[in-house]
């Protein structure tokens, strides 16, 4: 119980700390940050349920008014902004990444984590992100997809990194890889 709580809290803090890595902004303003990498790692390291709880805890603190998102953003305003779909998708993306990590337990950790990150952290996440843009900006699915497609290469790089980092953690701290426990 205690270890689960501290690991969930630590990975929520890890997402926040990854937001301190300088961001760069592409196209129409959606910032490219390392925080999505943190969401992928929540799933691939902590597993589906604990990973989801870590992301939910992080989002709850953002909603409570802590400036934990990249660029020092936070508060309730981010949940009514055009990127709300991505925020709603984060816990589901972490869950999906953890679930795929478990389903792919027969293949090596790094490869499984990379594939799980692509499926959870990109495919699942973008479904929610695109839906959010459609609602807030009143765009069609095709238009919203066109708006976010420029960010997919950056997220693919993050998925590859999530694979390498998860593999490194599996070697350094095998007990901590709860997604394979």
């Amino acid at each position: 119980m205690e270890r689960s709580v501290t690991l969930i809290a630590m990975f929520a803090a890890l997402i926040a700390a990854l937001g301190l890595i300088p961001q760069f902004t592409l196209a129409f303003g959606v910032p490219i940050t390392a925080q999505t990498l943190g969401v992928m790692l929540c799933g691939t390291v902590l597993g589906a349920w604990r990973g989801t709880l870590a992301v939910l805890l992080f989002l709850a603190l953002v909603a409570l008014g802590l400036p934990l998102l990249a660029g020092g953003r936070g508060g309730l305003g981010v949940f009514t902004s055009p990127t709300v779909g991505f925020l709603i998708g984060w816990p589901i993306a972490a869950f999906a990444a953890g679930l795929f990590m478990h389903l792919f337990r027969q293949i090596p950790v790094g490869l499984a984590a990379g594939i799980a990150s692509v499926l959870g952290g990109i495919v699942v996440l973008y479904v929610f992100g695109i839906a959010g843009l459609m609602v807030v900006l009143d765009k069609t699915a095709l238009e919203a997809t066109a708006l976010v497609s420029a960010f997919i290469p950056g997220d693919l790089i993050k998925a590859v990194l999530a694979g390498f980092i998860t593999q490194g953690l599996a070697r350094a701290r095998p007990d901590a890889l709860l997604s394979r426990a």
């Binding site: 709580v5 809290a9 700390a17 900006l137």
Partner: protein, 199 residues
């Protein structure tokens, strides 16, 4: 850790957080239900008035936070100029700005403690189901403590990298960063168990 609550004290600071959050929900629903631009101009003017009432310092801070939305405003208005539907573009942009503005207003006038009070109240049904909600409150406190500690450790790792490599700091430090985080989590879990645990 610094929260986004405004240091400029307003009357709204003393209003119940639950009331403000409930009003925000209703206002957001109204914004999405209204289609006429006249309504949206009225809502936006009302939001500006709410920001103006506590004074210029409060208003400047509020507007500064809304500034992050400018790329979306440019995109929406530009798009609808091209499709020759400027009114619709104005409605979408006004709705977005007002919704985010009102939500920011609640954040700026509500302390973290008051927000936690609402969370505690919302968790009541879970307590009835036997869920240990104390663990959630501990987890919140741990994240607030862990975040600056992790940030400091990240900076130390980056400095160590720079001291040893001519290349710039890249993703290589994220894996040792995560190892440090896991080790810290294990130490804190051990300390919690030593003090009677969370059960």
């Amino acid at each position: 850790m610094i929260s986004l609550t405004s240091p400029v004290k307003t009357r709204a600071h003393s209003w119940p957080a639950g009331l403000k959050l409930g009003a925000l929900c209703l206002a957001t629903m109204a914004l999405f239900a209204a289609g006429d631009i006249a309504w949206h101009l009225g809502f936006a003017a009302f939001a500006v008035l709410l920001y103006a009432l506590p004074g210029s310092l409060f208003m400047r801070e509020g507007l500064r936070r809304l500034w992050a939305l400018w790329p979306f405003v440019v995109l929406v208005v530009g798009w609808h100029l091209l499709t020759d539907d400027v009114t619709k573009g104005a409605v979408i942009a006004l709705r977005m700005l007002t919704a985010v503005g009102l939500a920011n207003l609640v954040t700026m006038t509500t302390t973290l403690r008051d927000m936690m009070g609402v969370v505690r109240w919302l968790l009541t049904p879970l307590r009835w189901l036997g869920v240990n909600t104390g663990a959630i409150e501990i987890a919140v406190a741990l994240v607030i403590r862990f975040t600056p500690v992790l940030a400091e450790k990240g900076q130390m790792l980056a400095m160590a990298w720079r001291a040893r490599s001519p290349r710039s700091v890249r993703w290589h430090i994220i894996a040792p960063f995560a190892v440090l985080a896991i080790d810290d989590a294990d130490h804190v879990a051990e300390a919690l168990r030593a003090r009677g645990g969370l059960a």
